[in-house]
Symmetry: C2
Amino acid sequence: MTDAPLFQRVALLGIGLIGASMALAMRRAGLAGEIVCAARSVETRAAALSLGLVSAAYEDPAEAARDADLIVLATPLGAFGPLARAIGPALKAGAIVTDVGSVKDIVFRDVAPALPLNVHLIPGHPVAGTEHSGPAAGFAELFDGRWCILTPAPDADEAAVARLSAFWTGLGAKVELMSAEHHDLVLAITSHVPHLIAYNIVGTASDLETVTRSEVIKYSAGGFRDFTRIAASDPTMWRDVFLTNKTAVLEMLGRFVEDLTALQRAIRWGDGDALFELFTRTRAIRRSIIDAGQDSAAPDFGRRPPGPGGEPPA
Amino acid sequence: MTDAPLFQRVALLGIGLIGASMALAMRRAGLAGEIVCAARSVETRAAALSLGLVSAAYEDPAEAARDADLIVLATPLGAFGPLARAIGPALKAGAIVTDVGSVKDIVFRDVAPALPLNVHLIPGHPVAGTEHSGPAAGFAELFDGRWCILTPAPDADEAAVARLSAFWTGLGAKVELMSAEHHDLVLAITSHVPHLIAYNIVGTASDLETVTRSEVIKYSAGGFRDFTRIAASDPTMWRDVFLTNKTAVLEMLGRFVEDLTALQRAIRWGDGDALFELFTRTRAIRRSIIDAGQDSAAPDFGRRPPGPGGEPPA
């Protein structure tokens, strides 16, 4: 390991599940000379230090960003604008500013105007996560084999994009480039709308007067529990996703509801062939996802009991 | 093990995931003197024999049911009526006829009329399963710690109900009794509507012209892949569920769509507080499900890499 690390100083602005996992994966691969973070709450800063994620934790994001070669915005999206305004004056010439937010068009709108012209803004989004939040939820393997999407502007500096790509590859991810606008459309259907309908059905179930809350919980193994897992994701982060990716989410949601209405009609009129046709078609997509290494074929929906390849005891 | 088994001869009519898991769990607990099955296809019968699930496999369900003390209907719901008519004349006096279907009211409608008056019909539903189908998908631990709901008629024989309850307890399940009508309402929200919306969003995603199929697959780790898991469930079984539990499914689906419309409106008008309130409320239900032992708190949504408590290598 005589090579110099890819970045001398990396500043993580926000250190929840993603920021903490990045810190651990950076250490695993020796990608950073120094890792520091900024966090608003004193508890988070103390946790980041005691978990050994960073060598320094600042309240002021400008302090963390000063002299950094790579600055990562890793808070919920709603904080991006204020953060950019806070760090703008402190940034080193040639620094790379990126983020890990789930919506990308907003980064150009909220972050770019506050940055000096001599830094490189390259928005990014690692498509990985769990339903847990906070620095203690992080783990070094989170990005292994997952995709990280970078959405550089058409006139972005190629060397900076290559360096950030190498960084994410070093964290274990596979890197893909696309426009911010296309990213927001793709993620609306693969992530945002799935989260919305998961949140929604958990809400619907908890509001019923004919079925008790305890019945919903007891019989959740029939399918419902998988939705509660997704619907346990961080509320602030997801509120901001829906507020910032409004257009694409409403477009995809409109299609979802249209298709659902057709299914509803098939059920009402007893059109078994239409149901069977859809239910057969969806199996093929599942197989493709497993073949692409984006999920395991283990029968997780049934939650195998403890043992090799099984879940840990509850 | 000098005790006599709970049932001398058990006939499984249909031997897919559930039937096969029952056979394995019966052997584990020594609940049956003899286990036989009936299956239409010669491949399924050969698999049931070669997997060691049963001592005999018949094409004719009446042959399997003859002399059996417990007969389990374990096919998709649509086959229940014909099956009942086929086995009715062959049933032994005092035999218990049950099923494992996901809808229960239909059992009284389709099965009861075809049975002689000297047998006990006690519908049942183990709330457990995986997205895999067929006899080779079965495993003995599938029912461990899960609920099995029995829906005996108000005038059902108490001793027969107690014996069937003991049987399911022996298979590892916890037993609950309720009316068939209430069962169908509870399962509509905890299982049937979740499956329907999972099938639906996978269909919506595969029909988009602005996002390619390969993009949907690549970025499925953002939440979508969990829906594909559910949407890979057996098409015939699920078609029959929606055709037979029409009223309760349409009722619950109506509420789901109503709530979704409110969320859609909150997004359109930027009502972050409404989104945040719902997303916070849904976390509490997740915690209750984990506390009730119906799921594990391991961050499965993120699919931890191979290792203790992790998923097996893809």
